[in-house]
């Protein structure tokens, strides 16, 4: 059964109709991405595996809840993955000792995303990833740091303020500015 040619929406439609070959194809496309998000938040291989299973089980039973007018399938998957990971993080109480909670750096072999890249296949996951990396890299360090703690660490603003030794208002502003900036930079990648 070769589903490689189907776009993500058609694939998800097939998942929602109970075809597990489509779920397998979806895992092949995005399983690693889901796992990466979960692992970076949770810092633990076994729990990240559990989280990944939870995510795909949720997709299997709730594919009909996906709304194609809101975001791409991969975006929806990442949202579910992050939400599940943060949920597990908060339940387990203690937080993993990360060497660093941060987005992936653009490697030396990656060119910065340019205007030409945006007209190329933005549907390509790798290009979208580089766009996000580039946009995040443009943020001031202080904004990026606060945002990473919220995004991957699942910390509240108050907890971030305590952790960084900064006033709550400062942290709120940094996160808000960072998100505004990123939203503008990434509006066209879906």
């Amino acid at each position: 059964m070769d589903l490689h040619g189907l776009d993500d929406i058609a694939l998800l439609w097939r998942v929602a109709h109970g075809h597990d070959d489509a779920l397998a194809e979806l895992y092949d496309r995005y399983g690693r991405l889901v796992f990466s998000v979960a692992y970076h938040a949770l810092g633990d291989y076994a729990v990240a595996e559990e989280a990944t299973q939870d995510v795909f089980l949720r997709v299997w039973t709730r594919a009909d809840q996906y709304d194609p007018t809101r975001a791409q399938v991969r975006t929806w998957l990442v949202s579910i993955a992050r939400h599940r990971a943060i949920d597990l993080l908060r339940r387990q109480g203690s937080r993993p000792e990360h060497s660093s909670i941060a987005w992936a750096d653009l490697g030396p072999e990656d060119e910065p995303a340019t205007g030409d890249d945006t007209t190329a296949a933005l549907g390509d996951l790798h290009l979208a990833q580089r766009r996000v990396q580039a946009a995040v890299a443009e943020l001031p360090e202080s904004q990026r740091e606060a945002l990473a703690l919220a995004y991957f660490g699942g910390y509240t603003q108050r907890e971030i303020a305590e952790r960084l030794g900064e006033p709550l208002g400062t942290v709120k502003t940094r996160i808000h500015l960072a998100m505004q900036k990123l939203r503008r930079a990434l509006v066209d990648i879906g």
């Binding site: 975006t75 987005w103 066209d188």
Partner: protein, 239 residues
């Protein structure tokens, strides 16, 4: 937030980094404010996008089998048979395609906006669409009774056709979509093939706005298509 709106904290709300009190205030406000609700949706998309650049971590190969095994012991959607999905009028169904009524009359069009992932700038264009495009369901004929399809309009003259359960054809044949005028003229909407499982999709670029046609059909044709329909009709629907 002198005007009562919660715009300043919506980003944090989307990140789930608000304290309980502030969160409750936002939830209460969102119940009555569509503008903040729309703003929140945009932040929620961003939250999904940001994870794309999480540092790469390779899952163990065995995880794939575990994911699939877990799914196989779970019903995909409790209590709803696949064949019912597209054949009922969909009243009360929450599925995004289930909200369609596969009614074969022209009278009312269902206002469901659906987009194909393949088109890159659609997310931006959705904001610009003045009227709400429709999605049209096609039903299988006696030649392919199990077949179902959706034509998802992205723009006045562009759409994506998504099909399920069409029998694969031999190498000398392909399926062809026809846009049918009120006077019976057939215009080709393109050719496509399906994979072994019967699924396929086709991006349709029509010479005129799609709603100017009255019906759609899919027939079996020689590979590469024909100037006009020659083979069995497998799918049909009204616009």
């Amino acid at each position: 937030m002198a005007d009562g709106h919660v715009l300043d904290v919506l980003a944090s709300y989307a990140l789930d980094s608000l304290d309980p009190q502030e969160r409750e205030a936002v939830v209460a406000h969102l119940e009555t404010c569509a503008a903040c609700g729309a703003e929140l949706q945009r932040y929620e998309v961003l939250v999904g996008q940001l994870g794309l650049a999480a540092p790469d971590a390779a899952p163990p190969p065995a995880l794939r089998d575990r994911v699939l095994a877990r799914a196989r012991i779970e019903p995909a959607r409790a209590g709803v048979a696949i064949s019912e999905q597209l054949s009922t009028t969909g009243a009360g169904q929450q599925a995004w395609w289930g909200r369609l009524q596969p009614v074969l009359t022209v009278v009312s069009l269902v206002a469901v906006v659906a987009l194909a992932v393949a088109s890159l700038l659609l997310w931006q264009r959705v904001e610009q669409l003045a009227s709400r495009p429709e999605t049209v369901a096609l039903a299988g004929t006696e030649a392919a009774p199990a077949a179902r399809a959706l034509l998802i309009l992205e723009d006045a003259d562009r759409a994506v056709l998504v099909v399920n359960d069409l029998p694969p054809l031999d190498a000398a044949q392909q399926y062809q979509l026809w846009l049918i005028d009120a006077d019976g003229t057939r215009t080709s909407g393109g050719v496509f093939s399906v994979v072994d499982s019967g699924s396929g999709s086709l991006t349709v670029q029509a010479p005129r706005p799609l709603i100017s046609y009255t019906a759609l059909g899919v027939t079996i044709e020689p590979y590469g298509g024909s100037p006009g329909p020659t083979g069995d009709r497998v799918l049909g629907g009204s616009l």
